[in-house]
Subunit: 384 residues, 2 copies
């Protein structure tokens, strides 16, 4: 077997692609990426780069036809052409048909409801007043298409918020009084083999409305862990998913588990697996889509991951403040994605802190977060 | 701080360079390598490649002058030009002066003896008979210069072996009846900060006379661990070494610890650190030479590393037999270096098996070794 004779295609040039390539190169796979720029994080370390828009039919056909198997690191891509290519017999995992279910969040919710998978109550919005009368305040408005990292979501607390409401095709979700937000990575092979990673807690920076920390393992009861993993596996099996999927859930104050969102790809909530699990989510994804046996998902050490996010109102050349001080903290693993430009709340890197206990890792992560308060700028403005 | 604004140069294009780059790219360092071929393992993932001979003065000057700091992943390089460049003020770590002490094994031994560091008895060979009369049979003949992976070493068991003796500048070493062969990685910063990794056991394939397995941690008493680490640190401090060093030692049947050899670089005996330690030897080396704080060297899980070696008498396109079966064993991490050509005993990759106990990891590694019995060939011959 010669892994280098296997060409893996990745659509998307971001950090998820970069980390996929890093793991694939350990095993000497040949990796080709379709990236929007030659400076994209993934493009910088790929064996071959096709520069192009992720909706460009020709470029997508080129990468799929060139590679033995193609995957994607972002769901906002040209799904139609991928579906045609799949029908022609090209190997694309997860099946792009899944994107049709997942990319429209309302369709995703309907898929869950139809399959009796637990999710908050929801319904299409036609009239905000009517929705309010039905769901009460607060309720959550979500864009059907295009949301990402907290964008495309509005919490409508009173009638006054109607003026801030999203003006696109959207649906309302009942506001969930949650205890914690949880996430879990499920991996599934072409032959149906399934392995599930530990359940983690997601912590949010509520000012930025973006996940800023992941705690692995989540500090929850064993029966909740089992329930979460069982639901997550069911999701991926019902989707007939191949590769790695992230499922985000709410744990309600009443102890119920509700699915918030499915991502058909490696995910921010699984970055901790690089250092803390026997097999990382990235290696696992490569194994899955290449029809190789899945690796062990066991946790080997507790970890807390901290995202390095762009500061509000800042655009330009990134400067990473405090890295040297952070490196003095033992157990710290620094990942800088290599993005040329920092934008508000943009994910620029992450830091995984490992320690003997979650508590110790958490307290170190708090230290890290305090030092790495911000990404300052060296002045000059973006040309990107 | 912008790591990407730091250019790191690496002289050498092999797997050690590849793994250094993999760790450096996590943190987004810019890496330039000087490699003998564009197909060298490290060249394939570097940001910039200078193709050239590792003794080529011009090429070495080019990389050193281009980079903020330069290191090497092999000691068989042009040391003279590096020493001149260092005197001109360029940053090269470890100092190439150290290579003058280390590359001649006899000079290395004299350095140890002069500093009262324990090493087997040794002396220059001028007449084999005289040496035999002094040391008795068996004794070990070592080439002063150029030995590598078991080459340049002969065990002279009787007078009959005189005909097999090396015909170069050499010295004799008293044959050590050892209990185990041990190794340890020491890291040292520019400011003198020192961190030492766990002590490991090296196991040899005696047919091939090459290390084929590393057991971490070594199955030895705590006082031996401490003695080994203390001696190793002293070595690196006396050399005024900056970066990562590997020190190989014998543990004699009588419980003494004797230094066998020093390598002024990341080392095969430290590959297990990628999966099994908080900080890998590769990241640690980058931290050290870039004047960054050193990371924790704590072991997080026991590990056994197995080398993937070329089969005797085989040259050509490599084929990795049994990888899929090996991937079924949980805890297995596969590294394929991406060398185009397999040669007898050439290091083609390695596999690190992690598990809850050394015993479990060892038994899985034995399984791995059985499956990965050989690198077969897909027929066609080398053009390299």
């Amino acid at each position: 077997m010669n892994l280098n004779d296997t060409k893996v295609g990745i659509i998307g040039g971001g950090q998820l692609g970069k980390m996929l390539i890093q793991e694939a190169k350990k095993m000497d796979f040949y990796v080709c990426v379709l990236a929007p720029s030659i400076n994209s994080p993934a493009a910088k370390i790929a064996d071959e780069v096709i520069v192009g828009d992720l909706y460009d039919e020709e470029k997508i056909s080129e990468i799929v036809k060139k590679c033995d198997v193609t995957t994607y690191e972002i769901e906002h891509i040209n799904t139609d052409i991928l579906c045609s290519l799949e029908e022609e017999g090209y190997r694309i995992y997860p099946s792009p048909k899944i994107l049709k279910t997942i990319n429209n969040k309302y369709v995703q919710k309907e898929f869950l409801r139809k399959n009796n998978l637990p999710t908050p109550e929801f319904e299409k919005i036609s009239d905000l007043k009517y929705t309010a009368s039905k769901f009460g305040f607060p309720f959550v408005q979500k864009a059907c298409i295009g949301g990402y990292d907290g964008r495309g979501v509005e919490v409508i607390k009173t009638e006054k918020d109607f003026s801030n409401a999203l003006e696109c095709d959207s649906f309302a979700e009942k506001y969930v009084e949650f205890e914690k937000e949880l996430a879990v990575i499920v991996s599934r092979g072409i032959n149906g083999e399934v392995k599930v990673f530990p359940v983690v807690e997601m912590m949010f920076d509520h000012n930025k409305n973006i996940c800023d920390r992941i705690i692995a393992p989540g500090r929850i009861e064993k029966d909740i862990v089992e329930k979460v993993q069982e639901i997550a596996i069911k999701c991926v099996e019902l989707l007939d998913g191949v590769g790695v999927f992230a499922i985000e859930m709410f744990l309600t104050k009443g102890g119920r588990v509700l699915i918030n969102e499915i991502a058909p790809r490696v995910h921010n909530s699984g970055h901790y697996t690089i250092e803390a699990c026997v097999t990382s989510q990235f290696e696992q994804h490569i194994r899955a889509i290449c029809n190789l046996p899945l690796g062990s998902t066991d946790l080997i050490i507790p970890a807390v991951m901290v995202n390095i996010l762009g500061e509000e109102g800042k655009n330009g050349h990134p400067f990473y403040k405090g890295l040297e001080d952070i490196m003095k903290i033992s157990g710290v693993n620094i990942h800088i994605y290599g993005k040329k430009i920092v934008k508000p709340f943009r994910k620029m890197g992450h830091i995984t802190v490992v320690d003997k206990s979650v508590e110790k890792a958490f307290s170190k992560a708090t230290q890290v977060n305090r030092i790495l308060k911000a990404i300052s700028l060296e002045g000059y403005k973006s040309e990107e």
